[in-house]
């Protein structure tokens, strides 16, 4: 479908106007010092939703959380990484928005593990928007609301605009960092969960398995015990929880756990 030129012109004006609104919100929070945390806060405020989170996806398909705007958003992000499903994970791989306007009523078959836990965490409607620049995938913006209901057309286009701004803001923060290093602006403010990867390394040695398999085992155990993946990872790192290959079981302070 081709959009008439007059409509394109009108859209361009609307886009400029809304972009200016985003830039204004960002400048109110950060002046001109880019900070990862303000992106999530501005995303929630600009789209008029309950909360927001941003995930980045690496070339090796590893997801990392860049920021979350509140504790519910943090729980939702953690949940998605644990069960490997949900709007943010789906949006990372999608061209378009992912939406579930009513998590409870939908009786979800798409996200069997995610939907009930997300509802428990306090989300009633969830949305995921790919963060990409042209064909380049960077990650996704996830948004939630504590009440059910779809996004209206202006919220929808605002969220797309915000996702585009996020993509550039993240790249702008990375600009100037030495090769193979994450920019300080990204590391300092971001909620990157690197302990998950440390724990995967430890479990790989404990169970004589690959790091990839260790990550899968960690996720499965977190889900089975209704624990956040990041919490389990911290317990592994401080050597409270470990994997015993002889019995194929997890141990907490040396005591075998039954799942």
């Amino acid at each position: 479908m081709s959009v008439p030129l007059a409509a394109q012109r009108r859209l361009r004006i609307v886009a400029s106007d809304r972009l200016l609104a985003i830039f204004t919100l960002l400048s109110q929070r950060e002046g001109t010092r880019p900070r990862a945390g303000s992106l999530c806060a501005v995303a929630a405020e600009f789209t008029n939703l309950s909360g927001a989170g941003i995930a980045l996806v690496s070339t090796g398909r590893q997801y990392t959380s860049l920021c979350t705007s509140n504790t519910v958003a943090r729980k939702l992000m953690d949940l998605e990484f644990t069960v490997s499903e949900g709007p943010c994970v789906d949006a990372c791989l999608s061209e378009f928005a992912i939406d579930e306007a009513d998590l409870i009523a939908a009786n979800d078959r798409r996200w069997v593990a995610y939907a009930p836990s997300a509802t428990d965490a306090g989300a009633h409607a969830v949305f995921g928007f790919p963060v990409r620049i042209g064909a380049i995938r960077l990650g996704a913006l996830s948004l939630y609301r504590d009440r059910p209901g779809p996004l209206n057309p202006s919220q929808l286009s605002d969220a797309y605009l915000m996702a585009s701004v996020i993509g550039r803001a993240v790249l702008a923060m990375q600009a100037g960092a030495p090769p193979e290093m994450l920019a300080i602006e990204l590391e300092r403010e971001a909620t990157f969960d690197f302990s998950v990867h440390q724990a995967a390394g430890m479990v790989a040695v404990q169970g004589s398995m690959t790091v990839g398999d260790a990550l899968v085992a960690l996720r499965a155990h977190a889900f089975a015990t209704n624990t956040a993946l990041s919490e389990l990872a911290v317990r592994v790192v401080i050597r409270q929880t470990s994997f015993d290959p002889n019995f194929g079981a997890w141990r907490d302070n040396g005591v075998a756990l039954t799942e």
């Binding site: 479908m1 830039f23 880019p34 996702a163 701004v165 600009a175 193979e180 990867h197």
Partner: protein, 246 residues
């Protein structure tokens, strides 16, 4: 898909494309107009430094402002030029005739009806990238609240420009980001393997990876990759000498 939602999807995609290639001049013109609405000034304009360091006119709220911005560039004098060169704000500068500071600029500005000028630098990572100019027809002072607001608007302009510049080299930057994220993840995984294999903490594990990399003249990421893939055991890494505390 219903016709209506197809239309929305198309419009949304188009809006996305507009951001991919957003019109920085359009956004900054809009910002200049907002300045005139929001603070007690009669005209506003944005000038930006080119990669070579030359000031360029980008956007303004009116034609007379555009004329004055171009004049400053031609004559290499005026509030914007001074503000950009010094990186400091010029607030409440009253124009007089004859003007010793700006002999070419001042009479032209007065002829167009402007009697005071203000200019705020646009600063990014310690560098001045441009300046936001305000002209008033009245002689009086800008109040403090307006000055704060004006600095906020200069920040908005800076963010817009940063966004626009990033779009231009997005591809290279994303590759760098992706590599940086991947190598960071691999290093964390390797730290976990080394910590478990040697019964040490994460800091010790990291120091071992680093000193092994240094001793064998290898990159940290390469050593970490070997550990993660299993071709180098965590117990076979060089142990660093006594740790230097800082």
């Amino acid at each position: 898909m219903a016709r209506e939602s197809l239309l929305i999807a198309t419009l949304v995609e188009l809006a996305d494309n507009l951001v991919d290639d957003f019109d920085v001049i359009d956004v900054l013109t809009l910002l200049s107009l907002r300045c005139v609405d929001a603070i007690d000034v009669d005209a506003a304009g944005v000038m930006l430094a080119s990669p070579g360091g030359e000031l360029q006119f980008i956007a303004s709220s009116s034609e007379s402002m555009r004329v004055l911005e171009l004049l400053q560039i031609q004559a290499d004098e005026g509030p914007c030029v001074d503000c950009f060169k010094s990186g400091t704000a010029i607030i409440n500068h009253e124009l007089v005739e004859p003007d010793q500071r700006w002999p070419n600029f001042a009479p032209r500005a007065i002829a167009l009806g402007f009697h005071s000028v203000h200019c705020l630098p646009m600063r990014l990572r310690g560098r001045t990238i441009g300046a936001l100019n305000f002209f008033r027809k009245e002689k009086g002072l800008l109040d403090d609240e307006d000055v704060v607001l004006a600095q906020g608007l200069a920040d908005v302009a800076t963010i817009a420009i940063l966004q626009h510049r990033t779009s231009l080299d997005a591809k290279t930057l994303n590759t760098q980001l992706s590599i940086a994220l991947d190598s960071r993840i691999i290093i964390e995984q390797a730290k976990g393997k080394v910590a478990q294999a040697t019964g040490t903490g994460m800091d010790d594990a990291f120091n071992r990876l680093r000193s092994h990399a240094r001793n064998h003249n290898m990159g940290l990421t390469s050593v970490a990759t070997m550990v993660v893939e299993g071709s180098l055991s965590g117990t076979n890494l060089d142990v660093p000498g006594p740790a230097k505390r800082h």
